[in-house]
């Protein structure tokens, strides 16, 4: 296999925007849609997923050469499930309130395709250092997207962000933003804005090069 010559900074940065798991790859939609009814839930889910992603990428990166290709998926899943259980017990012991509000979605991180997807698409064919950078970038990109989505829904749904009231008293709460349809609406608007910005940017770089 040809040596990967992408600059290291690019490995990290691509998760933030160009290949953002939520906005561009549309991976991990289950937690994205289900738990983002408040900013703090979005943050907690993002942080938990990032921890699992970074830890799994590290371990998978270290063991990838001794794992026979035929059992690579079960091996990765066992490692991922192990870290998810660690997060679950940690939250239940230290942050019972957050654990209660995320409910079954913490154990479900095991089947979050962002995590297995990164192991399969990246970690299994790159050195461990690069894999950790990739996981960091993807984790941060995922977390930021979830916080923005959660803030947007919380602001319109209850008039606050991170529990801080921002809307005036006369503001009529949009309860639908807290319900599943609100998740789809908010995500659709976010992806739309993301694509709009991306296409604007592409056009301006093309114009800079003297057009097509």
């Amino acid at each position: 296999m040809a040596k990967n010559t992408t600059p290291l900074s690019k490995e990290f940065m691509k998760g933030l925007w160009d290949q953002n798991p939520v906005l561009k790859q549309l991976l991990g939609m289950c937690p994205t849609l289900a738990v983002t009814n408040s900013a703090v839930n979005g943050f907690a889910m993002g942080a938990a997923t990032s921890f699992v992603l970074i830890s799994s990428s590290t371990i998978v990166g270290l063991i990838r050469k001794i794992v026979p290709p035929q059992v690579r998926i079960p091996s990765y899943i066992v490692v991922i499930a192990g870290f998810v259980t660690v997060v679950d017990y940690f939250l239940r012991a230290q942050f019972p309130a957050i654990s209660a509000s995320l409910g079954p979605y913490i154990p479900l991180i095991v089947v979050n395709c962002v995590i297995l997807g990164r192991q399969e698409a990246f970690t299994s064919r790159n050195p461990v250092g690069r894999s950790i950078l990739d996981a960091l970038g993807m984790g941060v990109g995922f977390t930021v997207a979830l916080i923005v989505l959660g803030s947007f829904r919380e602001l319109l749904g209850v008039g606050s962000i991170f529990g801080k009231v921002l809307m005036p008293g006369i503001f009529e709460r949009w309860t639908i933003m807290l319900l599943p349809p609100g998740a789809f609406l908010a995500l659709g608007v976010m992806i739309g804005i993301g694509n709009f910005v991306a296409s604007k940017r592409q056009r301006s770089t093309e114009a800079g090069k003297g057009g097509r």
């Binding site: 001794i66 026979p68 059992v71 091996s75 066992v78 490692v79 749904g157």
Partner: protein, 185 residues
């Protein structure tokens, strides 16, 4: 090494290591998790039995009762845990009652998965406070008009969440029916 043997060895090794690490994590966090649950319950008992400074747990086959006592060791009331089906899942709650079960002293919803923004309002004080001083001569009833009369055992339904309001009422009524069948206090 034979390919099949290698597959088995590697997978067994990985599972074994992950399994042992999880056993350590479990041992380290489990006492804390149990303590959190106990604290949550304790706090709820004191919340639904205002004035209580200590309580005794009394477990029988059918139910667990928490008898609250004040500073002079006089009985304040009895708290009872109950659960039942809500709109989307199980609602578990704890109710505080006078020792004769004729009046309600308070209500606290412990766990619920009702719709956010609608049914989930059963955890808000505006709903829970209605149960303070509710008279239990008749079964608790949910009404949609204002004002609901506490003397008749009425509480006001949450707008747009009649099912969740009804669920709380039903859980309490069946728990109370269980107590009176057992001979009451």
């Amino acid at each position: 090494m034979n390919r099949a043997v290698k597959m088995i060895v590697v997978l067994t090794l990985i599972s074994g290591i992950v399994g042992s690490l999880l056993a350590l994590v479990y041992a380290a966090t489990w006492p804390k998790i149990l303590e959190n649950e106990r604290k949550q319950l304790e706090q709820a008992v004191y919340e639904v039995l205002p004035g209580a400074t200590r309580f005794e747990e009394e477990t029988s086959e059918e139910r667990t009762l928490f008898r609250g006592f004040d500073e002079q060791d006089q009985p304040v009331g009895i708290a009872m845990k109950a659960q039942g089906t809500g709109f989307q899942g199980i609602i578990s709650l704890i109710g505080g009652f006078t020792t004769d079960f004729n009046n309600m002293l308070g209500l606290k919803v412990l766990n619920q998965v009702e719709t956010p923004g609608l049914g989930a309002k059963i955890v808000e004080d505006a709903f829970q406070d209605q149960f303070q001083g509710l008279v239990l001569t008749n079964r608790i009833a949910v009404v949609k008009r204002i004002p609901a009369t506490k003397e008749k055992g009425e509480i006001r339904a949450i707008t747009g969440a009649t099912i969740s309001s009804d669920a709380v009422k039903n859980i309490l009524n069946s728990a109370l029916a269980g107590v009176s069948q057992a001979g009451g206090e």
